[in-house]
Amino acid sequence: MESKLQSGNQMEKKYEDEVVMSPAKLAWKKFKKNKIAMTGLIILVIILLISIFGPILSPYNMAAIDLTNTTGEPSLVHLLGTDASGRDNLTRVMYAGRISLAVGFFSVLIQVVVGVGLGVIAGYYGGIIDSIIMRLVDIFSCLPTLPILMMIGALMLDLKVRPENKMYFLMLIIGLLSWPGLCRLVRGEILSLREKEYMQAAEALGLKDSRKMFKHLLPNTAAIIIVSAALGVGSAILTESGLSFLGLGVTVPTPSWGALVQSVSDMDSLQSYPWLWIPAGICILLTVVSVNLIGDGLRDALDPKHNI
């Protein structure tokens, strides 16, 4: 009897030490074990920190022209040299990072808000609402992205949109053109989730539709949303860079990584001034690769059946 009681107490004690892990914590624990994804995360954080704080610490103004020192080679004064107008290249690369990353993140934010919102509504209500939203998705995914972006780029040139405002247009347009994929994914998930018993239980509790949709169903789709958003950031940055490279996105004097690469468009400067385009190119490469690595890592971490 005595010993039984004692073992009972021990049990109690063991229980008290028990830590309950939320799904987010569990995922983070798994993510941390994934070395490749962690490398991606570290690189991205470094790039983010440099882009955010670099320009503040830099002694140069990113738009300050110094005609006495154009296309200067990298030196101790200008670590990455200067461009054709004598602007400090390092400052410009860092500042460009702000713009490229902002375009990447915010266009994905728009994509997630629109895609997930419509996807949840379509999947939950079904019927005619679903049909209307899905036809809208069809229409949007038929639109050829590049020609439209080029048209809008040309339109912005025509309307004389100020260079620093162009990035907001870019965010909006990239975001609005890329939501259909996510919308489809989310709708598919919701379609199967809403038939689960716990949704019937939620109904039996007397919950409102909006609460059922966004409080009960949405968190169950978090995994696919997070993964596709992470991968979406990479492709949005690439799109922005491509457009700016073509001169249709962000333009001088506002820098973006794509625009910086574009500043070298002839064979001569390509060969003679590598410091003008290599840093920005590497930044694009590193960012997109690390974003994709993080996306893959998240996919594994959020999949309960996947053990590392």
């Binding site: 229980y15 309950v20 509790l205 169950n220």
Partner: protein
């Protein structure tokens, strides 16, 4: 006559499918008093669960539709309530325990969150207070270390604990009517007994009426005050639990009781009612049970019997008791 908490009268729930109309619940009537347990027994597919879901108006529509009858809860007809009024009833005055504890909890929320949600929704109190009540409720249903369990997620609990958590969720707002849709089917026998004990104890404590849906006659004997036996969408026999087990009258009920194994008796072959539940699209003429009934007479094949009283409080729908019915 005492005031009934729930009066179901001539309830008809039909499903409109491509192959025709399925009368899942066909002209079913019953009453439940406060603090009492009514068990609905029957084979799979006889319309037990649909009856319970109709009371909550949780029938998927389309294809399902409540075609007629009334469901009076404290004098108000639930069928005519607006969505808003229904929502304030659901989970508050009437709540449900579902069949599958494994899948009836949302995997992304902690147990505590899910119990709190219904408390906050219906009781209009602060989150801190709701959390306290949720933990109190988890304790009431007999889960040890409630504070830790409140923060756990459904996958971390066993089936029995999940079912307890479901009961805690259902009982959190002190409902007056609890619909228990096969609450113990997914659990093993020892846990089953515990859960039934718990439900009885809670019933006493909160004076809740329970509508118990089950196919297990053992569970019925254990918990119910009244029993209604359903077959193919109709109630074929209704009596209090002692009367039904002592004096089963409908051949179907007799068959059900006979097909239970008896302890202390060597049985080589367990009795089973011959035949199968008729397809809902091709219901036999006359009494729905007649093709499987050993005592069927000619009249059974022609006319459908009505549920009538043969003894005080004992109703049967069977032509074999026509004389008793007339005598009454």
């Amino acid at each position: 006559m005492a005031e009934y908490l729930l009066q179901v009268k001539n309830l008809k729930t039909y499903f409109y499918t491509d192959e025709g109309v399925v009368k899942a619940v066909d002209d079913v009537s019953f009453n439940i008093k406060q603090g009492e347990t009514l068990a609905i027994v029957g084979e799979s597919g006889c319309g037990k669960s649909i009856t319970a879901m109709s009371i909550m108006k949780l029938i998927p529509s389309p294809p399902g539709k409540i075609e007629g009858g009334e469901i009076k809860f404290k004098g108000k007809d639930i069928i005519k309530l607006s969505d808003e009024e229904l929502r304030s009833l659901r989970g508050n005055k009437i709540s449900v325990i579902f069949q599958e504890p494994m899948t009836s909890l949302n995997p992304v929320f902690s147990i505590g969150d899910q119990i709190e949600e219904s408390i906050m929704l219906h009781k209009n109190i602060s989150k801190v207070e709701a959390k306290k009540q949720a933990i109190e409720m988890i304790k009431t249903v007999g889960i040890p270390r409630p504070e830790i369990i409140a923060d756990s997620y459904p996958h971390e609990l066993s089936g029995g604990m999940k079912q307890r958590a479901m009961i805690a969720m259902a009982m959190a707002c002190d409902p007056e009517l609890l619909l228990a849709d096969e609450p113990t089917t997914a659990l093993d026998v020892t846990i089953q007994a515990q859960i039934l004990e718990l439900m009885k104890a809670l019933q006493k404590k909160f004076n809740t009426a329970i509508l118990l849906i089950t196919h297990d006659l053992g569970v019925v004997a254990e918990t119910a005050d009244y029993v209604a036996v359903m077959y193919a969408g109709k109630i074929v026999e209704e009596a209090n639990v002692f009367e039904l087990f002592k004096n089963p009258s409908h051949p179907y009920t007799i068959g059900l009781l006979k097909s239970k194994p008896i302890i202390n008796k060597q049985q080589d072959v367990l009795y089973s009612i011959p035949g199968q539940v008729p397809s809902p699209h091709h219901m036999p003429k006359g009494c729905y049970f007649n093709p499987r009934c050993e005592k069927a007479i000619e009249k059974c094949r022609q006319e459908q019997p009505k549920l009538s009283e043969i003894n005080s409080g004992h109703k049967v729908a069977c032509w074999l008791y026509e004389k008793e019915m007339e005598a009454k």
